[in-house]
Symmetry: C2
Subunit: 164 residues, 2 copies
DNA sequence: AAACATATGTCAACATGTTGTCTTATTCTA
DNA sequence: TAGAATAAGACAACATGTTGACATATGTTT
């Protein structure tokens, strides 16, 4: 399994470098790699009405508690705000503010575009398609590992009294 | 750059899942994904004599300050220990302890092997080779981005008086 | 209505990651 | 030898990530 070992070590290094270089690319806008992911998620047409907290946490694949801190900081910075969902009053929708949209579209996007171009230097269209394909496959397998937990069915919350 | 966008978002998700599922795979041994990377680095024949702090930080692509905390915890847990380098007395060599080697070889390795098998489910030998190739290429580009900093040449330290 | 499920908030403890600053040893070099 | 570079340690501030536990409000089902 020497190949497997090298793959995961490189993935680990890639993760560290993405965090470092990605955050550095948008630091002038007061953003980080994670906040960039949040704004990216909220800027999708599918999320035009906003996204619930749990929904966004699942989408980004981070814990609800972790996202909570992110939301606090981004609300403080005026990038996003919460609004209540009319249909389900338990849900609170996270939406981009006008200021957030400006920061994202006008300030961050050019930096991100430049970052992508450098990070994917010498990648052909086919290379990119293959890379994405392997990422999707890897992610799929890791999600299966994640769900393969016998006790406490996948998430938190108290699903009724545990029969003592 | 829609493809680029998807690639980096998947990389971000992969990083989160590697952290989560990897740490969970070795939690019974009291390890985390990062500590697993450290032990993996130290168990290589090239590192038989140990590795310096800065050397290991560069190898793992993390900051010296971050590695410092990791070292403290792993020393506390008895997995590693520091020894002085005879050749360069500024350097301190990080080496695995007997206990650390046991935890790594006998306890963690079987779990890691199983993890690799699940995470690389349905990857052919060729798929793995390609995946590794794209990771290496991506990492190479990100390293170039990292080094492309005009001021404060790449690392910390005081390189003489900065001409006031 | 009562029980259960869902959606979120909050607090805590901990491990990782970054940057910046300052100090102390060494070693290398002009 | 003096100065510069290198290797580490230590501290701080901050952002991210995890898990666990407990509270609260609101839907849904029986």
């Amino acid at each position: 399994m020497e190949l497997a070992n090298r793959i995961f070590f490189k993935l680990y290094q890639c993760a560290n470098m993405l965090h470092k270089t990605g955050s550095r690319a948008v630091q002038d806008e007061g953003l980080t790699t994670q906040q960039w992911a949040v704004l990216g998620a909220l800027s999708r047409p599918e999320a035009a009405q906003g996204m619930g907290v749990g929904e966004l946490a699942r989408y980004l694949m981070v814990s609800r508690q972790n996202l909570s801190g992110l939301i606090t900081r981004m609300t403080r910075d005026g990038h996003i705000e919460m609004s209540t969902d009319g249909r389900d009053r338990r849900s609170r929708l996270i939406v981009m503010t006008e200021s957030g949209r400006h920061v994202w579209m006008d300030l961050a996007q050019p930096k991100i575009k430049a970052y992508y171009e450098q990070a994917l230097q010498d990648f052909s269209m086919g290379d990119m398609a293959h890379t994405l394909h392997y990422f999707l496959k890897l992610l799929d397998n890791m999600e299966k590992i994640d769900q393969k937990i016998p006790e406490s069915e996948e998430d938190d919350g108290h699903h009724g009294v545990p029969e003592i």
